[in-house]
Amino acid sequence: MIALRGLTKRYGAVTAVDNLSIDIAPGRVTGFLGPNGAGKSTTMRMILGLDRPSAGTARVGGRPYTTLRYSLREVGALLDAKAAHPGRTARNHLRAMARSNGIAAGRVDEVLASVGLTEVAGKRAGTYSLGMGQRLGIAGALLGDPPVLMFDEPVNGLDPDGVRWVRQLMRSLAAEGRTVFVSSHLMSEMQLTADHLVVIGKGRLIADAPITEVIAGSSLTAVRVRGPEPAGLAALRDRLAGHGAQVESAAGGLVVTGVTVEEVGDLAHQLGVHLHELSTREASLEQAYMELTADSVEYAAPAPNGRVA
């Protein structure tokens, strides 16, 4: 469990993270989305006690990170792929890491094997490709077997095999009851990996909702209705408008947004309208995300006080 309360980071006049209050719950993968410069990395660094918040708090398991005696057994994090000294071998990097938290040395070879780096563990990290660096970073995050894991762009530089491996790893870590907090720009990948999304733009919270809700909230998620009776469809259209739905006419039917397919079906039944098609068209996460973040840019400029949520 990660808890942010009023978390704020200002660099002079620039507010990188603005009054962020969220809980990142265990047992699911929480995707952390936002445009470049939205404050994702700054937020993660504040959670890890690397950057000092200008205001507010970030707690992991109820405590600030800097007060954790066995930090690596509480939180595993991959911040960037080049976190190891280029002149140190992967094994020595992990040995030093394990020693700091009293983690058994045998665990080092275990995590090296689990990320597929056993063969090259004696090579210096500076010789690693970006993908190998990511694997070493992930090995480090797993080293302390922590209940909370954070990954900043974990699939950067990985081949398709590696991408799928990371996806399965995230899913299984969450299935074991751990808190998994992942940032990424790859929406298609997030759609496959995340259960829950936190979206920020210009440092502010835009959405904190299950991924299904985010997609359902998109204007591109719609209910399609087709029927042989124009009069019936017109009546249905009026009733839907009364329920707060947006309705557009399309070839031989209607495209309805703002209500669920169940509501449309129930109304059609009440009105006795003859239907030939009642289906949903789902937006992709990418479409939903683009809409959300475009709005944030549009509405963030006049700076209303409080959260844009």
């Binding site: 660094r45 990170y65 280029p86 009293g102 009851g177």
Partner: protein
């Protein structure tokens, strides 16, 4: 949760073994010896010490015009050779101490280090302990090396008083350890290798020379309180202008001040 039980690392749930300052020191120890620059710095310090000691011994022998070695004039205690030869060799040790902290910033590993050891005072204390102990040992060995290289060259002009030589050699270790910690503190405060090296070089070498050659009494007197000058008083066990013990205290004060500055910067700034 089955997987978590199967791969439980560390010493079991709720274990309080490992970690803390001991863990942080162990980490810094592994980190120090697992990069090549440490070994190169130590090798360089040995080569520079040997070369400078040899040169000093040749100079001491050649400048002796007194034909009788039993006459005390011109006879050199070999333990002093290392002290006189530190001028250049100390910078290899300075480099070693500097790299302990500045590479963390140049490579970005500081963010990893602070995830492992989140308390910054503990992190700096661990680096201080490891660098201090390693340089104390290395410096003592350098002192022995200087004496061993100089002894055959000095020949009849050399003297080997046992207690004095031991004291000389240990003093070299202590001085270098303190200069190393001074450098470590400055490195933590400045973060940049170039800025740190230039500052240390100025304070140890350039500023004392400029002040001593100024022939302005105030400046000449001020030079005595710089770490390299005070360190030499301490190592040579001079009694003027202040006792050798005061020289030691002065060097300790420089090291403590630099570490305090490093800690203040480390505590306040984002990593």
């Amino acid at each position: 949760m089955a997987v978590r039980e199967a791969v439980r690392p560390g010493n079991g749930p709720g274990s309080t073994r490992g970690g803390g300052l001991g863990g942080a020191i162990g980490t810094e120890w592994i980190k120090l010896w697992s990069i090549r620059s440490t070994w190169w710095s130590l090798l360089a310090s040995a080569v520079l010490m040997a070369a400078a000691s040899l040169q000093y011994a040749i100079y001491a022998t050649n400048s002796n015009t007194n034909a009788d070695p039993t006459d005390n004039q011109g006879v050199v205690a070999v333990g002093k050779t290392g002290i006189q030869s530190l001028g250049i060799a100390q910078f290899a040790i300075v480099a070693l101490a500097m790299l302990v902290i500045t590479t963390e910033y140049s490579t970005g590993t500081i963010r990893a280090t602070l995830q492992w050891v989140p308390r910054r005072d503990r992190m700096l204390l661990a680096k201080t302990a490891v660098a201090g102990v390693v340089i104390l040992a290395a410096g003592t060995l350098l002192g022995i090396l200087g004496a061993l290289v100089a002894a055959p060259m000095l020949g009849k002009w050399g003297r080997f008083p046992m207690p004095g030589t031991v004291a000389d050699v240990l003093a070299i270790g202590v001085y270098l350890a303190l200069i190393g910690l001074f450098t470590l503190g400055l490195g933590a405060a400045m973060r940049s290798a170039v800025a740190t090296l230039v500052t240390v070089f100025l304070i140890l070498t350039v500023v004392p020379a400029v002040l001593e050659n100024s022939h302005v009494t105030v400046f000449v007197d001020a030079a005595r309180w710089l770490p390299s000058v005070a360190g030499e008083h301490f190592m040579l066990r001079d009694s003027t202008p202040y006792p050798a013990g005061v020289g030691l205290v002065v060097v300790v004060a420089w090291a403590v001040a630099a570490l305090a500055a490093g800690y203040l910067v480390l505590r306040g700034r984002d990593a």
